[in-house]
């Protein structure tokens, strides 16, 4: 399996994604600071209007935004590593190799999930460090560090949920379908009805969404292994 993952990285290097991740984190950090300043101003206004202020600290907001970005990012990786293989027909070449078909696909998914877990971890650390530092200088920046276990469950669930576009992308054989569906999923996961930090920040909801993602990825694997490759 390690060899298969190594070959995937050789085919599609991840180096450029790390630079992109840094850029995305910086943008989300700046956006969170800007939004926090607006929310702080809105808090003063709500005292006048009688409406409750939005209870969302800067770190939670940044992590929520980054989580949404990473769900879409995962769809991009799915498109590069899997759907493009179908579109370019290189998948038929892979099926002529003496390597177990399920292992080939699992190797790709493990790489995507591993990379995304790393991205989630690095992003959480980056946002926490930057917001902690910025909080020393800007009074409207607020933060509280959440339970690491809940954060881990949320990250794993986000990664599993992010696999759902694989199924949609395979049905349509389209990278656009995969990415557009991931935007809808990111919007649903960040929905504030269940939790102001997004539905997926609620551990019970996160586990359910993660299971849904895992079920759909299993269906996608079955589809890839057992269906004909036509021209």
């Amino acid at each position: 399996m390690r060899t298969l993952i190594y070959l995937e990285i050789k085919k599609f290097p991840l180096k450029s994604h790390f630079a992109g991740l840094l850029a995305a984190n910086i943008i989300v950090f700046l956006l969170s600071i800007f939004t926090s300043s607006l929310l702080a101003a809105n808090g003063d206004a709500s005292a006048l209007t009688g409406l409750p202020p939005v209870q969302l600290d800067t770190l939670t907001l940044a992590v929520m935004l980054m989580r949404a970005v990473l769900i879409v990012w995962e769809a991009v990786l799915i498109s590069i590593f899997i759907i493009e293989e179908y579109r370019n027909k290189t998948i038929s070449l892979l099926f002529t190799y003496p390597v177990n078909c399920t292992k080939l696909i699992l190797g790709k998914l493990l790489l995507i999930c591993g990379a995304m877990l790393l991205f989630h971890g690095l992003s959480n650390i980056f946002q926490a460090a930057c917001i902690f530092w910025a909080g020393k200088y800007l009074a409207f920046i607020t933060f509280r560090f959440g339970n690491p276990l809940v954060q881990a469950v949320t990250a794993i669930s986000s990664v599993l949920l992010g696999l759902l576009p694989l199924y949609i992308g395979l049905i349509k054989n389209s990278t656009i379908a995969a990415i557009v569906s991931s935007v809808a999923i990111a919007a649903a996961a960040a929905n504030s009805q269940g939790n102001s930090a997004g539905l997926i920040a609620n551990p019970a909801a996160a586990i359910i969404l993660g299971v849904i993602g895992a079920v759909f990825s299993a269906m996608a694997i079955h589809r890839m292994v057992s269906s004909d490759l036509r021209s």
Binding site: T90, T96, Y97, L104, R230
Partner: protein, 246 residues
């Protein structure tokens, strides 16, 4: 008699339309088998079914004595192939594509430079395959098929896109590999002349059904050419004459 390929009663339908109808064929060890048929006759579909890229509805496929029941059979490491059009990771160079192939096939990459040179691709360097002409891509696909020293070659229209010089070179190369390494070769084409020049046995497929299997020696003994034999088999002479009259 040992067979490199044995296909028995293979059938396949797509959306209720039969594309392969009860096909049986045998390729003897060390033989060059020419697979002839019009575009859409079912040549590529049969090759895909051999690899289970397209799952057969019924029938069996044996490659090098191994019955193929699923994708990615270990026996595939002893086979070189071009199925349908040559596909590559087009952002990578020729060398990198072949290196990947070696890793997947589980063999060393020491033969890459020599094989590239043999197919006239040694000067491509780090140029991405996306910048290759169709002929160069076809040569690279052949290099990939030959690279691991296979016992069986399954080549789907390997001379497509090659210039006349390239066609002659590839023909000679196939003959040499067959003669020196006793490699069995299944080669499909719709170019009658090329198959007549290279094949020992000809299989003719039309509308998904195998119409005939005949040795080139038998065709010559009948005092006819492959073209005449093919046209007679398909009732083509009448069709062509009708076309001229109309």
């Amino acid at each position: 008699m040992t067979y490199s390929i044995e296909v028995r009663h293979l059938s396949k339908s797509i959306d209720g339309v039969p594309i392969l109808k009860d096909i049986s064929m045998k390729v003897k060890q060390g033989e060059i088998y020419g697979f002839l048929g019009a575009n859409g006759a079912g040549k590529t579909s049969l090759m895909k079914a051999m690899y289970h890229i397209m799952f057969p509805d019924s029938g069996t496929v044996c490659l090098l004595g191994e019955t193929i029941q699923k994708r990615n059979n270990p026996v595939f490491s002893r086979i070189g192939s071009i199925i349908e059009s040559p596909v590559f990771y087009s952002h990578l160079s020729a060398y990198e594509n072949l290196e990947l192939h070696c890793k997947y096939m589980g063999c060393g990459s020491e033969k890459i430079a020599g094989t590239l040179s043999l197919l006239g691709l040694s000067e491509t360097g780090s140029k991405a395959v996306s910048h290759f002409s169709l002929g160069m891509r076809q040569r690279l696909a052949l290099a990939r098929a030959f690279l691991t020293g296979p016992e069986l070659l399954i080549l789907d229209e390997p001379i497509n896109g090659l210039d006349p010089q390239g066609i002659i070179e590839v023909r000679e190369l196939l003959r040499r590999v067959n003669r020196e390494c006793h490699t069995s070769i299944l080669i499909s084409s719709h170019i009658l002349d090329e198959l007549a020049k290279i094949a020992d046995t000809i299989g003719i497929i039309d509308h998904g059904a195998m119409l005939a299997e005949i040795s080139m020696e038998d065709i010559r003994t009948q005092g006819t050419s492959l073209e005449t034999y093919y046209l007679n088999l398909l009732g083509g002479h009448e069709k062509i004459e009708d076309a001229h009259l109309s």
